[in-house]
Symmetry: D2
Subunit: 159 residues, 4 copies
């Protein structure tokens, strides 16, 4: 019961920035599973984005505020994932998020999906480009965002 509660408490929890804002947890839900009995591959990106939203809020760039302000808009131009081992209903998954590449107008994030034993079950990558305020093209990333992302660089470029 306490154990159950303890693991439950981890659902969707984001550790405070002081500890590590790049970790996000979720439990594979009933509706995440498809007719083949495993997490539907498209839903992995929903969870990756939830981890991304929590991460961006933790570094001071909550997406809801950015979108209302209209800048910096950071549309996703590429996404990919590798499915190493199927995710099953009820599993507690931790998403480790890091910065794989940091360019002038774009950045690439990596996501590692690990189970309770720390085994890597899936990984993903998303590429975001900053739109110029007039939305005509790209624009340099705001220095404050670059500085915030720098703190979460990963050494290699493979998630």
């Amino acid at each position: 019961m306490t154990g159950t509660a303890a693991t439950q408490g981890e659902q969707g929890k984001v550790e405070p920035p002081a500890a590590n804002p790049s970790r996000y947890r979720f439990r594979v839900a009933l509706h995440d599973i498809d007719a083949a009995g495993i997490l539907f591959y498209g839903h992995l990106f929903r969870h990756a984005h939830d981890a991304y939203e929590a991460f961006m809020a933790s570094i001071g760039f909550p997406l809801a505020e950015i979108i209302r302000a209209g800048d910096p808009l950071l549309p996703l131009v590429h996404a990919e994932a590798d499915y190493l081992l199927p995710l099953r209903h009820g599993e507690a998954i931790q998403v480790e998020l890091g910065v794989l590449r940091l360019g002038d107008a774009a950045f690439t994030l990596g996501y590692r999906f690990r189970d309770d034993q720390g085994q890597l079950r899936a990984r993903a990558r998303t590429v975001h480009v900053r739109l110029s305020p007039d939305r005509a093209g790209s624009a340099p990333l705001p220095p404050a965002l670059v500085a915030a992302l720098q703190a979460w660089r990963w050494e290699d470029e493979t998630p």
Copy 2:
């Protein structure tokens, strides 16, 4: 920053049973919003079910284990929701879950979706019937489940 972290920490958090297993939190995600700029009504049920899964686990009936065991299967036969005020991107929502009705072979759960100010934004209701192990029809709810649900009865039958 700490404040930000504190509100973030609430994402998907379920309070331990000792406190109140009937409360579940989530933050309205980018993908919850539709072309009209508000939470897509169908997604409210996804969040309600996440609260239901967390609740069932907290009272000792994790859905993943129940489904693997094949009993007690509790298919949903009715669902409804009232949308009082639109849910917006980034809002922190708390779902209060309670038992509205507890019958011989079925139970009705209520869900209240409140914002940070405690305002009721939406409410939902789901009706679950226990399938007989041979799946030919319904069957009485297991006494242990009835006892667990009794602890979370609400006084009225309106969520």
Copy 3:
């Protein structure tokens, strides 16, 4: 009608208004199924809304244009569904859509989900209220919308 249904064949097809705008077909997809092996109840509302979008377009009120114009906005204030028999992966489902109630500022739509044998598998209902252009409250439905909805009234108020 049987012929019409037969000729509709593929998923998602909506007959041209002249024939019957109130029928919409889809095939239960791999990702519609949940860990219990049946359509996740929340996804029924996604399909109901797809039928609603196709219906509204067929009667001259495409939602995308309405939302861009900002009027008439018709937010959904209530939704409910009864799940009579589980929907399985790969099943071809026809959604019959009709108007259950037509009020001054609101209307209620009914949805019947039938399989290839015409058996009723699920039904749903959604209530829509017209927002006043200033969004301060409700407003009378536009006469052109009332006239269009009148053509699809159902005799009883049960979907």
Copy 4:
């Protein structure tokens, strides 16, 4: 081809195999759009999979039957997408599906998402491996599947 596209008309319709099983159409739905006002990137994969399901059925391998039979199981091990131009609510999109690579135990599918003007808006790729019936590892693709996929090879390996 233009004629083919024209006759496809409504969303979700797939041409009969004799005509062209590799084209699938859908309309961007209200719930496909996110808080940024464009199709949520994860949903592109849901549409890609719908096109894949329609394709597999059209070449004689309906996923629902394959999964019930338990063989050949073709789990997805990699997925990726490029988002060239945002997809907007109400747009009619045609998905062109082809075989990019055909190996001994795996195949790669490409997806091109085009608008009504034929402009390429997004592209995706999925890699599928055949599980051995004992699920211990991979196994050669069934000859009948290889033959069916051969008919839809694309010349280059870029979707």
